[in-house]
Amino acid sequence: MLTFFQHGIRRLFDLADAGFNRVFGQTCNPLHQLGALSFYFFWLIVVSGLYLYIFFETSATAAYESVEYLTHEQWYLGGVMRSLHRYASDAFVVTMTLHLIREFAFNRYRGARWFSWVTGVPLLWLAFASGIGGYWLVWDKLAQYIAVTTAEWVDWLPIFTKPMARNFLSQAYLSDRFFSLLIFLHIAIPLMLLLAMWIHIQRITLARTNPSRTLAIGTLCALLAVSLVRPALSQGGAANLDIAVSVINLDWFYLLTYPLLEVWSAGGLWLLLGGLTLVLTILPWLPPAKKAPVAVVDPDNCNGCRRCFADCPFEAITMQAHSKRPGFEEAVVNQSLCASCGICAGSCPASTPFRSIEDLVSGIDMPQLKIKELRLKTKVALEQLTDDVRILVYGCDHATDVKAVQNSGVAALSLPCIGMLPPSFLDYVLQEGSASGVFITGCAGGDCYFRRGNTWTDQRIDGQREPVLRARVAREQIRILWTGLLQKKELTKKIEDFRVSLKAVGHD
């Protein structure tokens, strides 16, 4: 049932991804940067909010007027800031929600990755509390609706001895003290949100918290355009608790659930949201993921170079004093953090197939596919090639299935992650295996299932990241294609193009 949903949503994302990749390119595809975009919108909200705060009057009676002043007298800056504050908040909810759905659909939330997911759940509550609190401060008719409805909803919980809704019975009951509390909360809750966002990315190496510059500029322009075309306005004049709210324009991004309170009871909505929160929280264990094999360090082959430590996308590797070589360090794998991608094996200088020792053991190896086995499989695959142009394809288990493109001129091997492929294998395949070319493929750029496999591979081949591909390897004999799942047609075509170009330059 869950996987049915997952696959269905994944299909939709794949379709959308294909479109966005074409229009924005893989590195600027907004769907690859939803977490980073959420961070960016958060900062826009902070900056615009600080400006609003300078002019904001903190009493229930003066608040409305001060916001009106900003909106109308100072429309060119205050008004734009107000609109930007609102629309960036809306965009924040959109990207956050899509980010959640995407991590689910791409199955990036289970096993060792549960921490990011579970710490994401409170972000939802904090984000909504921040936004709804913001609308409250304007103290217009919408704020009145929010005040009364929120109080009625919160009163269902046995927290207050006197109902909170009594604060908003009529004008006579309103107190400035309560209003001050709201202002405090509208600063405190977003600060808590920021802290929680920081915790959320703690188990991620080099978390991407900044979107690409194109997207940052593009989305900012879009938000500014809405701000100018449809400036954020207060509704229905200042709040007047003696007159009920009849027709109101809701911000549906934040207030989608509020009308439910008229249909259901407050308890019903608590049940729905509480239940949803609970299900989301335990989702990574529904059912528990099979424990994936964990990277194993071989102290005899680990010289403490720190490359795996630098490349592990999930902070699963630490460096400690070497168990056998005094004065050296040794990599240590934290079992519970290892996501089983093998990127560490790809980064290890001892993972080279040229080593002549009989029992090839890397400094860090994956039990499900040791470097020794990878070398053996590579040899076997090469032996099957009979055409004059012989191409070996290395792919990954999370992108398009490379086995499906094999023929007499193309052999393929699939790795847990393309980042597991040590660059020395390319050299090996071309030198000792006498292949005409090596074709490398994996997840779309910026969207590696294990976060960094394709980026590290690019950098290793370009000589920007250790271990680098040796200079003697002719780059024309290497072709890279980063693409998503189910792109067999594109893959087949690109391999064919590669074959033609290899033949043209005489690599047959």
């Binding site: 009364v148 009625e152 809704a165 019975l169 989305t219 075309v229 449809r230 549906w252």
Partner: protein, 167 residues
């Protein structure tokens, strides 16, 4: 050519983004109250009477207590639950027995209820009992009210006159 296509595609994507954000941030409108409706809110916070009578300690009893505890008159802390009933034009809208708050059931009983009603003239009857159930309702307010559309009528309990008041 591709560049131009990409540029157009991005423009469309950003426009869709802007329109979606701009539209749903304040549309469609939500009708919470029909044009011919008004709101009645019944809310109060009132402590029921003490459950038992106060009692005077004898001198011997006082002597047994620590000096700082020698209060002659002791009253039980527990309060009665408060029952309340609201009817409009003879139709029962709300009836509830509200338990006292506090660990020792020694604080006020509170109520908050919001009702949407048709605007116009109504006969309102609201009753409250704050003693033992046998004594029934001890405060009653009966009154015709004229509600204009959108009006919020608040029914609260005034401790001074020990009865409901309309605001």
């Amino acid at each position: 050519m591709i560049k131009l296509g990409q540029f157009a595609g991005q423009l469309i994507a950003y426009t869709l983004f802007a329109v979606t954000i701009g539209y749903f941030s304040a549309s469609p409108a939500y009708v919470r109250l029909a044009p011919d409706q008004a709101v009645v809110k019944l809310s109060f916070s009132h402590a029921g009477q003490s459950v038992g009578d106060c009692y005077e300690r004898s001198d011997e009893e006082l002597a047994k207590l620590a000096p700082n505890m020698r209060e002659r008159v002791v009253c039980p802390r527990e309060r009665h639950a408060v029952s309340v009933e609201l009817s409009l034009d003879g139709k029962l809208m709300y009836r509830e027995t509200l338990q006292p708050s506090g660990m020792s059931r020694d604080s006020a009983s509170s109520a908050y209820r919001r009702f949407t009603v048709k605007a116009g003239r109504h006969f309102l009857k609201v009753q409250l009992g704050d003693r033992s159930p046998e004594e029934g309702y001890t405060s009653v307010l009966e009154q015709y009210v004229e509600l204009v559309p959108g009006q919020v009528l608040v029914i609260d309990f005034d401790e001074g006159i020990s009865n409901f008041i309309l605001k």
